[in-house]
Amino acid sequence: MMKAKKRFSYWYLLLIIPFIATLWPGIYAFDKPRLFGFPFFYWYQLIWVILTAVITAIVYIKVKDVD
């Protein structure tokens, strides 16, 4: 069971992206462009729900957890 110290996987760094994308509303607090009638402010954040799930799934697949 004794293993050499596992190296940090760089895939984890992907998980920082959602924080950068959502924490500062200055980059998305606009009305236009609208999508299906949703102001940018709203659809941008809702899309990041999906993108974050995708990113998390990628990291889940790429990083081998302990077995």
Partner: protein
């Protein structure tokens, strides 16, 4: 009285109640052990964990209060979306470690972990007390959510007719939690989620069509917000950017410090279950985003209510058929039962394990420990009920707000503690205390608002008080650790080793 809504409501409510009573038979275990009663025997797989965590996070109060915030002030209410986005990358990285170390050492609560990691009974006690204090008003708020739908069906807000349904619902809840433990909310959570999904899908299709499409709906909401006093705005103003971001971050970091969320994590059967869930739980965030938008729809539909909490029930009654409103209200009311059950179980675990066994009766047997937990879960619920019936509702709301600020003060000990035992245990205790005191003072100084206008280098930055308090907490803890080390004070013996945090089973 709205009879068609009431009948549909009652039928669904009874169905779920019966289900709760049968839950004890499901994957039967020895319910006289705390592990079995309070963590479902740590046997929940990906799907059940998903529903259980979802049941925790998207409560009746969420359903009522988050759109109410949007209804009251506009864009600010949407912070719930980035908040729930950021939870998952965070738990993906952090929570498997907690799961592994807890499994290895038999920890049932975060307080158990802190004691093992820092060998500090004081910090463990601080964590237990903070957890219980933060959870109690949360349970009470589930009743506020439930009351909003009950009164919308024509029972009124107060008096016996308004209170009796609430009392009945809670007595049922108390009995089945007592008898089935965590298995009860886990099985109900599945039904509750299906009902909520159906409700939201229907609401998101039917209401905007009736309001002339999303574009028109948003424009009408914008116009309605402008007439409010103080005026709200559909798009966030630049002076609120930091408040918005810090509320989202602070709430995301705090969520998994609540005892009931940790219960969801610790009850899962495998480390990988948590990682998998982090990738699939965001489906809930999408639903929450849509729930929030109901607030904008209520504005556009011209709903006028004194109390924002009544906005969504009124919206349903106005825009949807009565029988469907009854269905939606049942979803919300059941949405109150699930988290209330999990929360009361989680605080009962904390009390029996970290206060009763630790300080009152160290020689207690596992059966006694589990018995006390059951009893406490009962007392906690009765307490919440009494609180809602006899005190102004604003007390519960303010306490819940304070609870959010308080719970984040356990972040250094629990979350940072998962990575390092560098902190001195007394530095942690003092840092926690400073954080608690500062956060509480900030909230009071703003007459119980969650944001505090910090004066920094001549600028005024309104931000979430919990974030400001935990930063101070951190600084104090780090500085004091350096000082204590310089004085030659040793850390307590760490019960855990790095490999404990990585084991899969």
């Amino acid at each position: 009285m709205n009879w068609s809504a009431l009948i549909v409501f009652t039928v669904f409510f009874i169905f779920v109640t019966v289900l709760g009573f049968y839950a004890a038979r499901w994957r039967r275990g020895d319910l006289s052990l705390l592990d079995e009663w309070g963590l479902g025997g740590r046997r929940f797989g990906t799907l059940i964990t998903w529903f259980l965590l979802g049941g925790d996070l998207y409560t009746a109060y969420t359903f009522i209060a988050v759109p109410a915030l949007m209804y009251g002030s506009g864009a600010m209410g949407f912070y719930a979306v980035p908040y729930t986005i950021l939870i998952y990358p965070f738990i993906f990285v952090v929570m498997p470690r907690l799961w592994s170390v807890s499994k290895k050492h038999g920890y049932v609560t975060a307080s158990d972990f802190v004691r093992g990691r820092f060998n500090s009974s004081s910090m463990a006690l601080a964590v237990a007390i903070t957890g219980i204090l933060a959870t109690m008003p949360y349970i009470a708020l589930q009743l506020v959510g439930m009351q909003a739908v009950i009164s919308a069906m024509g029972f009124g807000h107060s008096g016996l007719s308004g209170e009796l349904p609430l009392i009945i619902a809670f007595v049922i809840l108390a009995i089945y939690t007592y008898s089935s433990g965590l298995r009860a909310p886990a099985s109900i959570a599945i039904v509750k989620d299906l009902m909520i999904y159906i409700t939201i899908i229907v609401a998101m299709i039917v209401i905007p069509i009736k309001l002339g499409g999303f574009s028109h709906m948003f424009d009408a909401a914008k116009a309605a917000l402008a007439t409010k006093n103080p005026p709200g705005s559909l798009i966030l103003g630049s002076n609120s950017f930091f408040a918005y971001g810090s509320l989202a971050l602070g709430s995301a970091l705090a969520l998994f410090l609540y005892p009931h969320s940790l219960t969801g994590v610790l009850s899962s059967s495998q480390r990988n279950t948590i990682r998998k869930n982090a990738a699939i739980l965001p489906a809930y965030s999408l639903v929450l985003g849509f729930i929030t938008l109901l607030g904008a729809m209520a504005l556009a539909a011209g709903i006028k209510v004194q109390n924002g909490n009544d906005a969504i029930p009124e919206l349903f009654l106005k825009m949807l058929p009565d029988w469907f409103s009854g269905f939606a209200f049942a979803a919300i009311a059941i949405g109150a039962l699930v988290p209330a059950a999990i929360m009361s179980i989680a605080s009962a675990n904390l009390f029996s394990r970290n206060i009763y066994k630790e300080y009152i009766n160290p020689q207690c047997t596992p059966e006694q420990e589990s018995k006390i937990a059951k009893l406490i879960s009962l007392i906690v619920k009765v307490g919440a009920l009494v609180f809602i019936l006899f005190f102004p509702k604003t007390y519960a709301i303010n306490l819940q707000l304070l609870g959010g600020i308080w719970i984040l003060q356990t972040f250094p000990a629990i979350i940072v503690g998962l990575y390092t035992n560098w902190f001195n245990k007394w530095a942690l205790v003092i840092g926690w205390f400073v954080g608690m005191a500062t956060g509480t003072w900030m909230a009071f100084s703003q007459h119980m608002a969650s944001t505090y206008p910090l004066h920094l280098f001549g600028a005024i930055i309104p931000g979430y008080a919990a974030i400001y308090a935990v930063i101070l907490n951190f600084i104090v803890t780090v500085v004091l650790t350096f000082i204590f080390r310089a004085l030659g004070l040793a850390n307590g013996k760490d019960q855990t080793t790095e490999s404990d945090y990585r084991t899969a089973s």
